[in-house]
């Protein structure tokens, strides 16, 4: 070793970080990936992705209009969940359901008024389009709520006490109005950060190989760790900038409450960013060509993060084998941390477990990358 001065490693790192930062500044695509992309995606998805049905088109078939049917119809019209169209003919309503013009049909038969208070009670027939099972379930839930409200009101108007023996008192913690945006937006941030972290770095190492600059770097006294750190630091800062922007938008644009500690959010995000960048660098190092790195990034980063992270689909309800698989997806831990930090506050058992998992993943990806990028062309 012709020992470099003490300042050697620091100086080399400074040079690499400066080089990478300049390249980022010169190439508008990196800046736009880090800032413009999350802003646009968050706006698009924050508003676009919602599981809350509003003004669901339904057909209300009233075969024999009267005061009873009128009061039931009024309760549906008054609900913000439904946009009912009243028809006389059941056939027409079924046609509309087939054509997708309405999502459900509520039928009050001709003998509705007469059968009220009969021992068997009057049936209210509901037909939902079950194709979208989730929406169907939500709609029938809404209808049930409307029915119960009407029932209580109607009984009171008739001067009869009508109370079910057991009533449910529901408390939805952390998200009292059950706004799906409150849980979707933190999840979206995790998805978007996965995309950005992976995209930012997936191409950069491959690019150095393709342009032949890696070969020139390797014959200088620089160490592999320094090359990787030199890439990690600027993209880490860039990614954290994008994260800060997304968090600010979640709080001030989408009105998602933030109940946790900002410092913990920063820490978890930092760990996640390291894991995502590590994954990107790993893909990049293995692929050595931008073409393959790009294809792999689309398939490895986006789709699993979308479907297996628990962002929309409940992990606990997946088959056991698939649940195990989700543990390999960094976004899974981040989605869970963000939902907790935003809505529930700093719940240490969750935050710590997720942070530990992210730290392990970051360490594994970075170590693998470090091992794969030997200072050699083989």
């Amino acid at each position: 070793m012709t020992g470099p001065s003490i300042a050697g490693p620091a100086m080399r790192l400074r040079g690499l970080v400066r080089k990478e930062s300049l390249q980022i500044l010169r190439d508008p695509s990196s800046i736009s990936i880090a800032f413009v992309l999350p802003a646009i995606l968050l706006l698009l998805f924050g508003y676009g992705v919602s599981l809350d049905a509003r003004n669901v088109p339904i057909a209300l078939v009233i075969e024999n209009p009267g005061s009873e049917t009128g009061s039931f119809a009024a309760s549906l019209v008054g609900s913000r969940y439904f946009a009912p169209a009243v028809v006389r003919d059941r056939r027409a309503a079924e046609q509309a359901l087939l054509a997708g013009e309405v999502d459900a049909i509520v039928v009050l038969k001709g003998d509705f008024a007469r059968r009220l208070w009969s021992p068997a009670g009057a049936p209210i027939q509901v037909l939902v389009n079950g194709t979208d099972a989730n929406t169907a379930r939500i709609i029938s839930g809404y209808l049930e709520g409307a029915w119960q409200k009407w029932l209580a009101q109607y009984a009171m108007d008739q001067g009869r006490a009508l109370a079910p023996p057991v009533t449910i008192e529901q408390r939805v913690w952390f998200n009292a109005e059950v706004r799906s945006r409150n849980f979707l937006v933190p999840g979206l941030i995790a998805i978007i950060m996965t995309l950005i972290g992976t995209l930012l770095t997936a191409l950069v190492v491959a690019r150095e190989w393709e342009r032949g600059t890696m070969e020139a770097l390797m014959v200088t006294p620089v160490r592999i760790g320094e090359i990787l750190l030199g890439k990690l630091i600027p993209y880490f800062l860039l990614g954290m900038g994008g994260m800060a922007l997304s968090t600010a938008m979640a709080i001030w644009v989408f009105g998602v409450p933030f109940r946790g500690s900002a410092a913990v959010l920063f820490l978890v995000s930092a760990l996640f960013m390291l894991a995502a960048l590590g994954l990107g660098l790993f893909i990049s190092t293995l692929a050595r060509s931008q073409f393959v790195a790009g294809q792999v990034a689309i398939i490895v980063a986006f789709l699993p993060a979308f479907i297996l992270s628990g962002f929309i689909f409940d992990i606990a309800s997946m088959p056991r084998a698939v649940q195990l698989l989700t543990h390999l997806i960094p976004a899974r831990y981040f989605v869970s941390s963000l939902q907790t930090l935003f809505l529930a506050g700093t719940v240490w058992p969750i935050v710590l477990a997720n942070a530990a998992a992210l730290a392990v993943m970051a360490a594994v990806f970075l170590a693998l990358t470090w091992r794969k990028t030997r200072k050699s062309l083989e």
Binding site: M11, R14, L16, K19, R26, D27, A216, T220, P221
Partner: protein, 607 residues
């Protein structure tokens, strides 16, 4: 520039201990299913404080050797000692005192000149006053001072090369490795680079210079000639050429009959090699040739009388002789003498006989990119059966002109007509009359040779029996038969080039466009290639070729020099050389003429 480079040939300094010593080095790579022996028991030494040229055909193992010396690759067996250290075991120490410029210079194109230098200074741990001083010196040394803030990607090839060199010199290395530094660089820059490297050697730095240019090799102190991973010969270039004393001749015949003469001379059994060199043919005879062999045969040629004079052998002759005496093995060297123009070829319309028919006509061609004018009013014509060369430094506007002619780029103003047609507007079938060979041999790399040929044959509308015959003829003629099922990207460079040409002329085009057709291929392949082109021109095909190999320009009937978007000179190679003859230099080479012309133009038209 100080005079002719040959004049600057170096006196070998007293031999010191070698800086690099290789002992029985083996290195294998897996290429697909087979293993390639990149270095096959190589032993060699590289002397201190001198320039050692590393020469050899493509795939000889030059780049592998460089990478082994820098420790970027480890040998499978054998030892490599660099500056007294083991390159494989003490890699970091070796890398601390070695400077290496890889083939594409290793520059960050989106960083400026100064930023690239800063980066390498940081990496090399150069700080403070030492750093400032070194930068000043390097800027002065390379003449990059005025371009400090320019992005490396915007530099010309020559400037990139100098910046790449400056970056490797930030901390003065004891050993400098340059991997084909002059590929894609114009002659002026090549000369400047040579001067810089010479001065470095004066400071005690040892240099290993891999090159495909044999005139460069000739100027080195020592040459290592590699072939198929083995050392074929080593020593000062003069020793190489000395072996050929009395075997090299210049033959001069009628100007108009030059190509016929060439064919006939090549057909003589004792002729190892014959090439066009200006007005003359340069001929190399085999060892067995008796004295007076050439003179006696030249009297009986159809091409008329030819005068034979003996000339001094060059390194190039030695290279060709050595390579051709090698038994043809896996790389499949071209057969002796290479292909010849087929006898049945129709006589070409003589330029001398009346008004030639202009096949390519360029009138007032202009192309702007934003505020930058890449091509600034170019006019020229190419006649039937003529080879017209477009020469010029990188970024001068050659490729842009070329693309407009092929209909790949619309001109901003002016006209570019091929066979009287504007290819950009013409019906697609009109493109069936032209053949096109792009810079990097644009073949479908993952398809086999046969699949490529079939595709291009069909693309040009050949079907059924005609197509089959044409493909078989191409396989035969280009010696590709043994490779017909090989995946084309695994072919040696020379074969890729043959295949690219075979594809481009599948349909017997009347006009052939060749964009830098030989860059990066070794001298033997280059010769073989030109023999084919000559034959085609003889058969009446008009050829437009861009190049920055001056040696190649000698093969052209006429050349046009493009510089800063303008056609600054046009004429036959002889006319251009004559126009730039000076009392000091009565017989300039084309390269001399080029350098002189550019210099004059720059002084007359300051930017």
């Amino acid at each position: 520039m100080t005079g002719r480079p040959e004049a600057a040939a170096l006196e070998a300094p007293a031999a010191a201990a070698p800086v690099v010593a290789l002992r029985d080095v083996h290195k294998r790579f897996a290429a697909g299913s087979r293993t390639v022996e990149a270095l096959d028991g190589l032993s060699a030494e590289i002397g201190a404080a001198r320039i050692t040229g590393l020469v050899g055909p493509d795939g000889a193992g030059k780049t592998t050797l460089m990478r082994l010396v820098t420790g970027l690759l480890a040998p499978d067996s054998g030892s490599i000692r660099v500056l007294g250290l083991d390159a494989a075991a003490e890699t970091r120490a070796v890398q601390a005192s070695v400077g290496y410029m890889p083939q594409r210079f290793g520059l960050y194109e989106d960083l400026s000149v100064a930023e690239n230098l800063e980066l390498y200074a940081d990496l090399q741990g150069l700080a403070g006053a030492e750093r400032r001083e070194r930068f000043e010196r390097l800027m002065a040394f390379t003449g990059l001072g005025p371009f400090r803030t320019r992005l490396a990607g915007r530099l010309s090839g020559g400037m990139k090369q100098k910046l790449g060199l400056a970056c490797t010199l930030v901390r003065p290395p004891r050993l400098l490795l340059l991997d084909e530094p002059s590929v894609g660089v114009d002659p002026v820059s090549r000369r400047e680079l040579w001067e810089i490297v010479r001065r470095l050697v004066g400071e005690g730095i040892s240099v290993l210079w891999a090159t495909a240019y044999l005139d460069e090799a000739e100027r080195c102190h020592e040459v290592l000639l590699l072939n198929e991973g083995r050392l074929l010969a080593a020593g000062p270039p003069s020793r190489f050429s000395a072996r050929l004393e009395g075997r090299t001749f210049a033959v001069r015949g009628e100007e108009a009959e030059r190509r016929t003469l060439l064919d006939e001379v090549r057909a003589l059994p004792q002729v190892v090699d014959a090439v066009v060199k200006g007005r003359d043919l340069r001929v190399l005879l085999s060892k067995q040739a008796e004295p007076g062999y050439l003179e006696s045969h030249c009297r009986t040629l159809q091409a008329g009388r030819a005068r034979v004079t003996g000339v001094d052998p060059l390194f190039e002759d030695a290279f060709v002789a050595l390579m051709k005496e090698q038994p043809a093995t896996s790389a499949g060297r071209p057969a002796r003498g290479g292909p010849s123009s087929r006898g049945a070829a129709p006589a070409r319309t003589k330029t001398a006989a009346g008004r030639p028919e202009a096949v390519i006509r360029v009138e007032g061609l202009i192309r702007r990119f934003g505020s930058f004018t890449a091509v600034d009013g170019i006019d020229f014509q190419v006649a039937r059966g003529e080879i017209f060369g477009l020469l010029g430094p990188n970024g001068a506007g050659k490729s842009t002109t070329f693309k407009m002619l092929c209909g790949l780029l619309p001109p901003s103003d002016g006209r570019a007509l091929v066979l009287g047609i504007d290819l950009r507007r013409a019906a697609a079938v009109a493109r069936g009359h032209i053949g096109y060979m792009a810079q990097k041999f644009s073949l479908y790399g993952n398809m086999s040779v046969l699949q490529n040929l079939r595709f291009f044959a069909s693309a040009y509308g050949l079907t059924g029996k005609a197509r089959q015959e044409r493909i078989e003829a191409a396989l035969e003629e280009f010696g590709l038969f043994a490779y017909r099922d090989a995946v084309s990207e695994t072919l040696p460079l020379g074969f890729k080039q043959r295949l690219a040409l075979a594809c481009a002329i599948m349909h017997d085009p009347g006009v052939l466009f060749l964009d830098e057709p030989t860059s990066g291929v070794d001298p033997l392949v280059r010769r073989e290639f030109w023999t084919r082109i000559d034959a085609m021109a003889e058969a009446g095909v008009s050829v437009l070729v861009t190049t920055h190999f001056m040696e190649e320009a000698e093969y052209c009937d006429r050349i046009g020099i493009i510089y800063r978007g303008k056609l600054v000179a046009a004429g036959t190679p002889e006319e251009l050389k004559a126009a730039h003859a000076t009392p000091q230099l009565p017989e300039p080479t084309l390269e001399d003429a080029f350098v002189d012309l550019i210099g004059r133009y720059d002084s007359e038209h300051p930017r």
